[in-house]
């Protein structure tokens, strides 16, 4: 037992067993994330030294670049971290839920629902109502789709049915999105398209404030549900034998995944592949068990989005390309690598 640390709350109602390997990996990942965030803060159309950036953060009144750092770069970076963490954990929950390593929010139509709602909103002239309503529309779309999938799955929610029905719904939603895009004017279509690819362009503190509650509630909740995921991984019969209310647990996990994915899609558009990639990378780095996987997945998801956004911002100056392109660009080769490993 020397390889694990056990934390117990007073009274022993809550305890947490942490493998040493998981702890070190998570700490290292957190350090990398902090370093990346600092690097990302100092890079941009005008690069600044990390020292000046820290100065601007701590004493904004003394620094000349305080505005750039605190109002333009920082919200974008915080949003990238939150979005990546939420999407990664949503993917982890879904993969555990359906016991299939290829499930992710984009596969079963949650991202599709949010996208269709957002595109409809843009095409119907919703922009006149104000930007603030777009995330709400997207979130409503994601929730509606999750309920639709549950309704269609009916009583016997087996993982396979859930995924297949999600796939069918996702296809219809994709067709609907394309329809709206083709029928709307060119400028709206282009704007909607950039949104669909996933972009953090011009992120503001307001958006961070919109997403933060979801992340701050959802991620700890995912931690507490992680033990249920471990039990579900043993198979339905074993889980029932161990006293788990399988159907209720699945429902709760699904809703949580939808809330996390829907909220992040609402604020950053349809970033794909993160829900697929982050859990896989995390599984390689930390020991078994979802309690360690949740934080590691969250940090890795955040790292992916942060770096993709940094690349989009810096690599093709003066153009600011959507982060989604780079996530797909990194995600695709990695995905093929996963296929190769998975087969053996």
């Amino acid at each position: 037992m020397s390889r694990a640390v056990i934390l117990r709350a007073v009274g022993g109602r809550l305890s947490l067993r942490l493998e040493r390997r998981t702890l070190t990996a998570t700490l290292l990942l957190a350090l990398v994330l902090a370093a990346s965030a600092l690097a990302s803060l100092s890079l941009g159309s005008q690069a600044t030294a990390p020292g000046e950036v820290l100065e601007a953060l701590i004493h904004p009144e003394r620094s000349e670049i305080a505005l750039v750092v605190r109002e333009i770069r920082l919200p974008r970076i915080v949003l990238a971290i939150l979005v990546g963490a939420c999407l990664g954990v949503a993917g982890l929950l879904l993969q555990g839920l359906v016991r299939n390593p290829l499930a992710s929010p984009d596969v079963i139509g949650i991202t599709g629902g949010a996208s269709l709602a957002a595109v409809c909103f843009l095409a119907l002239g919703g922009a006149a109502l104000g930007e603030a309503w777009l995330p709400l529309a997207a979130l409503a779309g994601a929730l509606a789709v999750a309920l639709l999938i549950l309704a269609l799955t009916g009583r016997n929610v087996t993982p396979a049915r859930l995924v297949l029905i999600g796939i069918g719904v996702a296809a219809a939603l994709g067709a609907g999105t394309t329809l709206v895009l083709v029928l709307s004017t060119d400028t709206t279509a282009m704007r909607a398209y950039v949104w669909l690819t996933g972009s953090l362009y011009a992120a503001q503190w307001g958006e961070v404030a919109g997403l933060a509650p979801w992340a701050l509630l959802g991620l700890p909740l995912a931690m507490t549900l992680s033990r249920r995921l471990d039990v579900l991984a043993l198979g339905d019969e074993m889980a029932i034998g161990l006293g788990t209310a399988v159907r209720g647990t699945r429902f709760a996990l699904l809703l949580l995944a939808v809330a996390l994915a829907g909220a992040s899609v609402a604020y950053a558009g349809g970033l794909s592949f993160i829900g697929l990639l982050a859990p896989h990378i995390a599984r390689r780095l930390v020991a078994r068990g979802h309690a360690g996987l949740v934080p590691a997945t969250a940090i890795i998801g955040a790292l992916i989005v942060l770096h993709a956004d940094l690349l989009g911002r810096v690599a093709f100056l003066p153009r600011d390309l959507p982060a989604g392109i780079f996530v797909a660009g990194i995600g695709a080769p990695f995905f093929i690598f996963l296929l190769y490993r998975w087969r053996r």
Binding site: L102, L164, A171, T178, V182, P322, L339
Partner: protein, 334 residues
């Protein structure tokens, strides 16, 4: 279900009549309606001065021919795939083969400026092949067989991969935005017959392969053990049928972009009518597939006038309830 050869022949004749009717409707209806008399006249004695004849011969006729070819190819490809994978949900669009072909075509035309139809169709074949290999890798179970759910999930993942790559290109290459959007959505509008000509040898070869394989394909329905016991090798049959699928799907994507669900719906309808014998299923699929796409394309002109709905969107909206129905069934065998 039609059980005797006579009723089945009648059924095929009926399917042919339906396809023909859909074809005539596709020629006659649109923004301007062409009267039947004028339709006949346009073919027998075309009048170069008549606008109706001009529309008919230069726009509607190529469009109808392409819709028919694409519909038939996709439906036959779907039937072959369902037999090959023993999976009711298999179809070129569901398993990502269309997306692979589309992505390769888009990359070739926008990054490498390839324009000749022959080069593009080879790219489409390459994309279809890549996608199907990826899906086969993904769908493989430990025992060596293909798990239906895994195959479908693999198909979705592969579709996501190729579509997001193509979308990334769309955003970088904004000038080609509109034409690329139509690749993604799937449309038979505005594509001339000259694009079809270089594909004809491939389509004929695929059709010939289907005709030659039709009896052997029936073997694939049987249990593997049984087939081995009968002293038959299925490896070569599978390889040829797979090649036919790739050629058919690749050609249809090169002609019309990603058009989904035709390959899913039609084989199921045909099997419900004719049973599982491929000697009847394949011709039935070709006829009804052509009819379905022609009808969907004609309907698409009237859904939201004055704009046309891309036919790929139409088939996806028609096909989804069907897919959901199949997914909710207890067994995923075709």
């Amino acid at each position: 279900m039609l059980n005797t050869p006579l009723t089945r022949l009648l059924g095929l004749a009926l399917a042919a009549a339906l396809a023909l009717m859909a074809g005539v409707a596709s020629l006659a209806f649109g923004a301007t309606t062409v009267a039947p008399a004028s339709l006949v006249q346009a073919f027998l004695a075309p009048d170069p001065g008549s606008v109706a004849h001009l529309i008919l011969l230069t726009e509607r006729l190529p469009r109808a021919v392409i819709a028919a070819v694409v519909g038939a190819s996709l439906a036959v490809a779907g039937a072959l795939m369902q037999t090959l994978t023993r999976n009711a949900l298999a179809a070129p669009s569901v398993l990502g083969i269309n997306a692979g072909a589309m992505c390769f075509v888009v990359v070739a035309s926008s990054l490498f400026a390839l324009r000749s139809p022959l080069a593009l169709v080879w790219m489409a074949f390459l994309g279809a092949l890549t996608a199907s290999l990826l899906v086969a890798l993904l769908g493989r179970e430990r025992g060596g067989g293909l798990s239906p759910v895994r195959v479908v999930l693999g198909g979705v993942a592969v579709t996501a991969l190729f579509v997001s790559l193509a979308q990334g290109l769309l955003i970088i290459d904004q000038e080609g935005f509109e034409s690329l959007l139509l690749w993604l959505a799937g449309s038979v509008a505005g594509r001339g017959l000259e694009g079809l000509k270089p594909l004809l040898p491939f389509l004929v070869a695929a059709a010939a392969a289907c005709v030659l394989l039709v009896r052997q394909l029936n073997l694939l329905i049987l249990d593997d053990e049984l087939v081995k016991g009968l002293g038959q090798h299925t490896g070569r049959i599978r390889l040829l049928a797979g090649a036919a699928v790739i050629v058919l799907a690749g050609c249809s994507v090169a002609l019309a972009g990603m058009i989904g669900f035709v390959g899913l719906i039609v084989p199921h309808m045909v099997r419900a009518l004719f049973g599982r014998d491929h000697r009847w299923v394949l011709p039935g699929c070709a006829l009804l597939g052509a009819g379905l796409l022609l009808a969907a394309d004609t309907l698409a002109r009237f859904l939201m006038p004055p704009q046309e709905v891309p036919v790929g969107v139409m088939t996806a909206l028609l096909g989804t309830p069907f897919f959901l129905h199949l997914a909710r069934r207890r067994s995923l065998a075709p």
